[in-house]
Homo-oligomer: 197 residues x 2
Amino acid sequence: MLAFPAVISPTASQKGQQTKAAIIDAALGLATHIGIEGLSIGAVADIAQMSKSGVFAHFGSREELQISVVREYHARFEAEVFFPALSVPRGLPRVRALFNNYISGAVEFDDRPGPVRDALASSVRTWLSAMTRAMEQAKECGDLCADADVTQLLFEIHGLILALHYDARFMKTAGSVQRALTGFEHILAAHISRPAP
Amino acid sequence: MLAFPAVISPTASQKGQQTKAAIIDAALGLATHIGIEGLSIGAVADIAQMSKSGVFAHFGSREELQISVVREYHARFEAEVFFPALSVPRGLPRVRALFNNYISGAVEFDDRPGPVRDALASSVRTWLSAMTRAMEQAKECGDLCADADVTQLLFEIHGLILALHYDARFMKTAGSVQRALTGFEHILAAHISRPAP
């Protein structure tokens, strides 16, 4: 991290925000392993190498800590998966970006119980909507066949992501990211517009 | 249920087995809604319209009840999904039967926490192994192309099942069984051996 020059040293409030962000970061990392239900002020203090009272000063309750972690998860999902894809040109490039960003980032966060699952379900809905729009645009601009069934494509593509999550969680087989990418290209290949001969 | 003629009325032991089976059946139905962790002697007595002590006479503990339910789940999975498919001829017919039996039966039981999830994971592994064998056989008998990548096919097909489960749980969209079947035919179509022209 860049040091602040002494003349514009951070205020106490800025330092507090940095500490709070560092705690949330540590808590999010912990939540990917034990689930958000397992998060407690004490457990987070341990891995953030702080006192319990230090963590408590930033989060008045375990629930507030958990809510902050879920909010951070949403923010990262949007920043890593969603927004970068929207800066890619419409059509197949954006469809591919949405898929690639998702499978390269979200594997760790698939299926924890409770609030994290709810947060995930909400992020998945955001992603499914964005992918639907991206595929409709790909049809409009002629990248995908005019008769491509977007609902069917979305179902099949979502299946690949779920299979990847399942492999990551239960099977631990090597090469599953490549299998998801190969499956994605299989699905697209059946619907890509060919130039007239 | 057929009535027993009085001359061969069931023994006390047979009646006990029938009662126990009826309790497990009720408990399994309840577990699909609340998860197996939520099963208790009291809750099961309620839906089986029995006294708690009546249920307790058949299952000495909550854990024993839960284990019986998981065992029953396995048995039904094998009876409804697995064994019927093995009586269908090898090749694509058996591949299709394994897929169709799974998606028409197992939707309710996808992703409960705890022992039911473990039971499911075990059943899914059984199914994935059976599907792998069925596809290898389909290659051997010439139904599928000799160069079909069975691991890739399995990944894609499993994805369809997971997408169906996801839809059933979160999206509640109509037509998802049909989408799974359509996706399955898309995957097979790319790998079915064509007769030489």
